[in-house]
């Protein structure tokens, strides 16, 4: 029972992270109809920016006294703002010239951007090729335990932040003018621009929001796995991003609520697979689910089947 609850808890926590990343994929897909391949690298950028900003602020790895609570918030904000700027730049420089190009070309460009970010990140003048460990931003002893499940402060922070961000996004999309512009562009770009919506601005904004969420996920990832050391070149970054993409597809790509649902689902499947089957095939479960969904309901759990206009 304890193992079950613990797995459930871990699955939900990591599922929240997947959901945050998946939101970026899904929002871009909803509007531009292409897979923003570079999104997983923006997520990794979020992780590394968090580490870097933390070390600027003098926050080290495990062992040092825990910093003040607002330091974490500062790191989060910093990472989100810088990533947002990067996302904006990528869209303007690499994707905007290709608005009318076939989707395949945009996909290839996105791969180019992804490779660029990956390789730039490993350079000596950026984050360097050596492993660095996630800083300790809060008390790592467990806060309380419910029937054997250890709940740490950082877990609460991860889930809490993720929920707050998702609620903010929900509000943004359904209760603001900008949000309705986003929905209009996603529904029909041409009609939206005919109705006087500045499509380029909406797209830029979507990218900024999406990358900021990915940055937040990067920060929270570091928070959850504090003390662990990782390399910039580690393929796990792309892998995490990919799983988030799978989450977006499983939930129904282009559908914001689907992304959240898909994220949680993928997190749970991964952790239950690891706990009850074998930890070796961790990545395989997620992709097995992807193939299953594509076979049975290609439009995803919450997605609607669409017909291409001919």
């Amino acid at each position: 029972m304890t193992q079950f609850l613990q797995t459930l808890f871990d699955g939900v926590t990591v599922g929240c992270l997947y959901a945050l990343i998946a939101l970026g994929y899904t929002m871009v897909y909803g509007i531009l109809k292409f897979i923003n391949f570079a999104h997983s690298d923006v997520f990794a950028l979020g992780v590394w920016l968090s580490i870097t900003i933390a070390s600027w602020l003098g926050i080290g790895a495990t062992g040092q006294p825990t910093p003040a609570w607002y330091m974490g918030l500062l790191v989060l904000m910093g990472a989100m703002v810088i990533c947002g700027l990067v996302g904006f730049t990528i869209e303007r420089v690499a994707y905007k010239p290709l608005r009318k190009a076939p989707r395949l070309n945009v996909l290839i460009t996105a791969i180019g951007v992804s490779l660029l970010l990956q390789n730039l990140g490993q350079q000596k003048f950026t984050f360097g090729p050596y492993p660095k460990s996630f800083p300790t931003l809060m008390e790592s002893s467990s806060l309380f335990s419910v029937s054997g499940v250890q709940v740490r402060l950082s877990d609460v922070a991860v889930i809490g932040t993720a929920v707050v961000l998702m609620a903010a996004l929900q509000y943004l999309i359904y209760h603001t003018k900008l949000g309705s512009a986003m929905r209009a562009v996603s529904f029909n770009t041409r009609n939206a621009s005919l109705m006087g919506i500045n499509v380029d601005r909406v797209i830029s904004f979507t990218f900024i929001v999406g990358t900021m969420l990915a940055a937040a996920a990067g920060f929270l990832y570091g928070l959850k796995y504090e003390g662990q050391a990782k390399q910039t070149a580690d393929s796990m970054w792309v892998m995490l991003g990919l799983k988030a993409f799978v989450a977006a597809v499983v939930g129904g790509i282009g559908n914001v609520r689907g992304a959240v649902l898909g994220g949680l689902l993928i997190g749970l499947i991964e952790f239950f697979g690891v706990a009850y089957l074998s930890s070796q095939y961790r990545d395989a479960y997620v992709f097995a689910i992807l193939i299953l969904v594509l076979l049975l309901k290609p439009e995803g759990v919450l997605g609607k089947a669409t017909v291409e206009k001919v």
Binding site: F34, I35, A94, P97, L98, A101, P102, R103, L104, N105, V106, L107, I108, T109, I111, G112, V113, S114, L115, L116, Q118, N119, L120, Q123, S235, V238, M239, L242, F245, V246, V249, Q280, Y281, R282, D283, A284, V286, F287, A288, L290, I291, L294, L295, P298, E308, V310
Partner: protein, 433 residues
């Protein structure tokens, strides 16, 4: 107007022409391979011949990926995964097959596969060679089967799903292969002889990789398969199936309306590409004498994608050229020669071609000129600062992809072959007006 079927038999060529048409590629392959192995190989440095060999496998991989990504306009990102599937299958067959059939995992080939020093005293082709070639083909078939399983569900869907599924497939393959138990070491071959097949087949070395394989891959085998790959892919492209592939890439809706079973042809292209990727995997494994799934992750797939995109999405000769260039590029960058002579020569050729065709394209001339100046400037800068460009190779590739998509999205050659660019416009056949 008559129906198509009424003409077909009437227009069939005489029977005796069929056999030569079917087998000349094989003969051509053997001839080229013999030349590569006996004339070219011994007369260049060991390092150069190694590069030539790697270029050969890269040609097979890039050209086969062209069939999917170029002809049908789908987007596979798991080519290295298929290479891994084929490579491991052939490694298994060669290694354990040798142990089972010959009692040892040592090299047991003939002169054609000899990679050791000195002349080979022995037959032209040995028992080991047969096992090796059979294993490569089995690797190709196994990889093709995997391609079918992966392609069928994903190719029914919109194009970009294939990218994700193949990427995921590559990672699953890697994870599964890295989870296998240790291999039976060569010095324990005598014990392995009595172990049943099915127990050996899963002992693939796990994270350490599958090592100490006998090396059979020589310029002969590589270039034999290069020629076969090129001819097969060219025959595909210029066939009715090839037209179906290209029509899907051009306009899937129209292709369907004209009666092309789009899924079937996408799967067909994908399976063929997987076959050659698997084959190349076998050549790769028995060249290095080892194969490790960790080296064949999606990063490796990107190498081939870059070759295809650069060469032209759909140009066999373009992909071949790109494979050669990108194989040599790291070496060239390591010790960068001046750029401007090459730039001048290129400018000269382009000017002559354009003058002859009386069709001036000033923009391309200026572009090449500026490109040369910029590259030369960058080279001088790096030399003066002591920067080694080879370290920034991947960044350059990434930038190349982005710039290419914005400036020349169809790649260097588009779907055309190199010779089609310089020749006159194809004359209409049998036109009377």
């Amino acid at each position: 107007m008559n129906r198509l079927i009424d003409h077909t038999r009437q227009l069939s060529p005489p029977r005796w022409t069929v056999l030569p048409r079917a087998v000349w590629p094989l003969l051509a392959g053997v001839v080229v391979a013999l030349i590569a192995y006996y004339l070219v190989g011994p007369n260049i440095s060991g390092f150069s011949s190694k590069l030539m060999l790697i270029a050969g496998t890269n040609i097979i991989l890039a050209v086969s990926l062209t069939v999917v990504n170029g002809f049908t306009g789908q987007f596979s990102m798991g080519h290295a995964g298929f290479m891994a599937v084929g490579g491991y299958i052939s490694a298994t067959i060669t290694y354990y097959g040798s142990i089972k059939l010959l009692g040892t995992a040592e090299f047991a080939g003939g002169a054609l596969s000899w990679t050791g020093s000195g002349a080979h005293a022995g037959p032209f082709i040995g028992k080991g060679d047969l096992i090796f070639v059979a294993s490569c083909i089995m690797g190709g078939l196994g990889s093709a089967a995997a391609g079918y399983i992966v392609g069928l569900p994903s190719l029914r869907l919109r194009g970009d799903y294939l990218a994700i599924v193949t990427l995921g497939f590559g990672e699953i393959v890697r994870v599964l292969l890295q989870g296998t138990p240790d291999q039976v070491q060569p010095w324990k071959a005598s014990q392995a002889v009595d172990t049943p097949w099915y127990e050996l087949l899963i002992k693939l070395g796990g994270p350490k990789g599958f090592n100490l394989l006998p090396t059979y891959t020589t310029l002969f085998w590589v270039y034999l398969f290069v020629v076969l790959t090129l001819i097969v892919c060219y025959r595909l492209k210029t066939s009715s199936s090839g037209r179906a592939f290209l029509s899907i890439r051009e306009d899937e809706v129209a292709a369907q309306a004209m009666g092309v079973d789009v899924t079937k042809y996408k799967v067909r292209a994908f399976v063929i590409a997987s076959f050659f990727a698997g084959l190349a995997g076998g050549l790769y494994a028995m060249d290095i004498g080892a194969i490790n799934a960790g080296d064949l992750g999606f990063q490796k797939s990107f190498d081939f994608i870059i070759m295809v995109v650069l060469g032209g999405m759909g140009s066999i000769s373009g992909a071949t050229l790109a494979a050669i260039i990108l194989t040599l590029l790291p070496e060239v960058l390591r010790d960068l020669p001046p750029v401007w002579p090459a730039g001048l020569v290129l400018l000269g050729i382009m000017a002559v071609v354009q003058a002859v065709r009386k069709h001036w394209h000033v923009k391309s001339l200026v572009g090449v000129g500026i490109g040369t100046i910029v590259l030369e400037g960058a080279r001088q800068f790096c030399l003066s600062q002591g920067i080694n460009i080879a370290d920034f190779r991947l960044i350059l590739y990434a930038l190349l992809l982005i710039v290419m998509m914005i400036a020349r999205p169809q790649g260097l050659f588009g779907i055309r072959e190199v010779w089609e660019l310089f020749g006159r416009k194809k004359k209409a056949v049998g036109s009377g007006q």
